[in-house]
Amino acid sequence: AQSVTQLDSHVSVSEGTPVLLRCNYSSSYSPSLFWYVQHPNKGLQLLLKYTSAATLVKGINGFEAEFKKSETSFHLTKPSAHMSDAAEYFCVVSGGVTGGGADGLTFGKGTHLIIQP
């Protein structure tokens, strides 16, 4: 069984300041972990993916995430927020055993990122 907990339902930061979106996971296997972003009235876009090659993963638009097995965390960060980053962010875990399959994909509840001018 696997689960994902996004610790904040809403995060508000000022433009130009750092962003931290927190995610903890639980998985019986060596998981693949993802962050997806969803802008208003848009589909889900893949930001980045961890598959055990490196613990620090760089994604698009300046985002990165660090996999910490000891803390079962996969927090998303960005050094400087931009207005266009305002969106809903989802942390996702895949079972990784079968290499795919929707039964191995579990979504967090989402974190709404608000950027203050």
């Binding site: 693949s32 993802f34 997806y36 848009k42 589909g43 889900l44 876009q45 893949l46 993916k49 598959t51 989802f90 895949s94 990784g96 290499g99 795919g100 399959g101 929707a102 039964d103 191995g104 994909l105 979504f107 509840k109 989402g110």
Partner: protein, 117 residues
């Protein structure tokens, strides 16, 4: 290249009517997934197709929901006798199982917003 496409983008229907939602996956992707996104439930997995294999229907919420995939490509999600609680955004995703690096990375379409009056 072209991403996952879905049609219609919006659908308004009356309670009790049947609706069909269409998904066109990324060319060459063998796996196709349907999800439902609603305010109260977040992102829920509905059904999964891998190639020509029988679909995994474990996530379908009731027997009013069905899906098919013709020729291993386009998929249709059908909801019979729609109810107001079926109102949600229905998302389709596809993934490429032939690539070990991409087996569990899902690429999402823009979704179909269904409103049942």
């Amino acid at each position: 290249g072209a991403g996952v496409s879905q049609s219609p983008s919006n659908k308004v229907t009356e309670k009790g009517k049947d609706v069909e939602l269409r998904c066109d996956p990324i060319s060459g992707h063998t796996a196709l997934y349907w999800y439902r996104q609603s305010l109260g439930q977040g992102l829920e997995f509905l059904i999964y197709f891998q190639g020509n294999s029988a679909p995994d229907k474990s996530g379908l919420p009731s027997d009013r929901f069905s899906a098919e995939r013709t020729g291993g490509s386009v998929s249709t999600l059908t909801i019979q006798r729609t109810q107001q609680e079926d109102s949600a955004v229905y998302l389709c995703a596809s993934s490429h199982w032939d690539s070990p690096e991409e087996t569990d990375t899902q690429y999402f379409g823009p979704g179909t917003r269904l409103t049942v009056l």
